[in-house]
Symmetry: C2
Subunit: 344 residues, 2 copies
């Protein structure tokens, strides 16, 4: 039997929804003729989601596992009801529906990463094997299903699985940065010392070029030190993105009062919309990659301070995003080395 | 005493926030030297917010009044905790702080509309005089404060107060439409029969021109009939924006499978993100004016269906938005007549 290409045939609640907004989807593991069954190895929980879960569990690993199991039990997918976000996974292709087998470049046994959010992916967790709190990665025994429209990437053979997973989780960020930054631009990256922030720094520096300027804002001293060592920012500012007026003062200082052309938000906590808006020129753009972004806080906050800044919702997908993101660690040995220390 | 120009001096919780994201602000009505005190006549509650309040109150006017009073009591501002949105107000200038009196073109006694959201405006409601459920307008006895950075418009003398209020509430929508639509574009407006939708139709038709195409999607038969009478759309589609696959089919039919260059979302209910994404070309843009938009549903939904569409957060402010919006009813007598029937 053939399912809908977007997976609407698995929506239990509410009917008519697509699987992402749906309250609950069917996670029974018999596949339709246009689905792919995956034997899951590791989940990469979205950073905003995992930060929320760790907080709710007060850091207790057993509680984290319980919360994760509860989410999947209630919704048929790892769709955090508080943050609304998911993450992605790597696993081995176990079965390919007969209707699509000839049309795709996959075979049973291939190791792939899904490039659609866990917030719409039918998932069963049989057992949680290991929770790596520092990297948002969780090894499990379990299965998942990819719909016909679901995109994926075969894992590259020139890096480890965990490294590829870490990068592919945030593939949209460097790829969008590559599209958004023009030569000569001043670019501010907020949360620059994190995973997506680091990849964005590389792309921003490359695209802004010698006539441009890249400014990194980071919360912790260690984060600033990491960015400094990588040498990817013209200026590094330590600051708290939840304090908009403080951030404004620092960016005014750093730019002689000019503000920046483009701000990219890569933090994993709420309430940072206005720092981005205030730091950016009236004619500039803010790109919100962070899943902790509030739509109304951005829209009404910008209006409230009378800023005409364009604000873009970070689409996790853009053409060739997997290739662009993986290419960063191929081009930049320092980032590769840093990430290998963190994610191996 | 001079306050911060953005109003941070009135933030009670959480410190460091600007007034919009703040949990609670100080609504005591002694003004600082750079604030303006307004004697409020009418509130225009944001449509997404008022729809939610009416639902919670089950249509009961007393309960609506209670909920409104509770919001203001808890937060010092009319900032709906469920939708996150506000609205705006009209009133008479009662006092102008001495520090700014010489720099602004206002005098005590002028009638103005605030163009910053109620979600950041210190407000006191002494009495609710009349609730006009069909137009989201509520007459009150009360006071409000405008910060130094707060924008406003003097009410025009060629239309009634309620009509101007209605238009200025959604001024961002037609003004952004004017900026976004290029000659030859195909433009879809979702919620086209509503207030902002109607103003957007006018601007879209004007900018897309003879080589472009404007498609109106509306929920109700009456709404479709309103749009038909105005003659502002090349095609009118009746449909439910919470049903993405149905909307996709209809837009494919209407565009010979091409989809549209630009979709503008003007609905007042949640769960319409994916209809917009599916209706729009990969190379196209979605403009979310609706305050019921969920950031994660848009970002992860687009990723989930593998669409590269740019998605823009509807900034309530853009340069000259008040003039552009008021100009629509001056240019278009039919819209003026229609709105006068509804808002008088
Ligand atoms: N749009 C999409 O499709 C998509 C896909 C994946 C992820 N995401 C989102 O992207 C965001 C970043 O993900 P990630 O994996 O790169 O996260 P990450 O590695 O955890 O990095 C988060 C960064 O934010 C910084 N930060 C935290 N609090 C801060 C504050 N108050 N002020 C300034 N910086 C602060 C952190 O600094 P410290 O380390 O110093 O605390 C860290 O550098 C998350 O919100 C995630 O949900 C979006
Ligand atoms: N970004 C900003 O600064 C800002 C400022 C003000 C307002 N807003 C937002 O803009 C939105 C529109 O405001 P408005 O005053 O124009 O609202 P409105 O006059 O109430 O119009 C809403 C429209 O949406 C239509 N609609 C409702 N459910 C629908 C469905 N399932 N499918 C298709 N259409 C549907 C309604 O159709 P029916 O009448 O047939 O039900 C109506 O035409 C609201 O969400 C509001 O919060 C944003």
């Amino acid at each position: 039997m053939k399912g809908n290409k977007y997976g609407t045939h698995r929506v239990i609640k509410n009917e008519g929804d697509l699987p992402q907004p749906a309250e609950k989807i069917d996670n029974s593991m018999e596949i339709y003729d246009n689905e792919i069954l995956i034997d899951v190895k590791t989940l990469n929980i979205d950073s905003a989601s995992f930060t929320q879960i760790k907080k709710e569990a007060e850091g207790d690993k057993e509680k984290i596992a319980e919360i994760m199991q509860r989410i999947v039990k209630n919704r048929g997918k790892h769709h955090n009801p508080v943050t609304g976000s998911g993450g992605m996974l790597v696993g081995v292709v176990e079965e390919i529906g007969e209707d699509i087998a000839d049309d795709i470049d996959l075979e049973v046994g291939d190791e792939i990463a899904t490039l659609v959010s866990l917030s719409l992916t039918p998932l069963v967790i049989d057992e949680i094997l290991e929770i790596r709190e520092d990297t948002d990665q969780v090894d499990i025994k379990g299965k998942a299903i990819l719909f016909e429209s679901g995109i994926y990437a075969k894992l590259p053979d020139d890096m480890s699985r965990n490294l590829a997973l870490a990068i592919l989780d945030v593939a949209g960020a460097p790829a969008q940065t590559a599209k958004l930054v023009n030569p000569g631009d001043s670019v501010l990256i907020i949360g620059a010392g994190g995973k997506s922030g680091t990849l964005c720094l590389h792309e921003a520096q490359k695209r802004a070029g010698i006539s441009g300027e890249v400014i990194a804002l980071e919360y912790s001293e260690e984060g600033c030190e990491r960015v400094r060592k990588l040498g990817l920012a013209d200026k590094i500012i330590q600051g708290d993105a939840t304090k908009p007026t403080e951030v404004l003062t620092k960016i005014e200082e750093a730019t002689d009062g000019e503000l920046v052309d483009l701000t990219i938000n890569c933090v994993n906590i709420p309430n940072t919309e206005l720092s981005c808006v205030l730091a950016t020129k009236d004619s500039g753009k803010v790109y919100f990659f962070s899943m902790a972004t509030s739509f109304t806080a951005a829209a009404l906050g910008a209006e409230g301070v009378g800023k005409d800044t364009e604000m873009v919702i970070g689409n996790g997908y853009t053409k060739n995003h997997a290739e662009i993101a993986l290419q960063v660690v191929r081009e930049n040995k320092d980032i590769k080395e840093l990430f290998e220390k963190i994610y191996l």
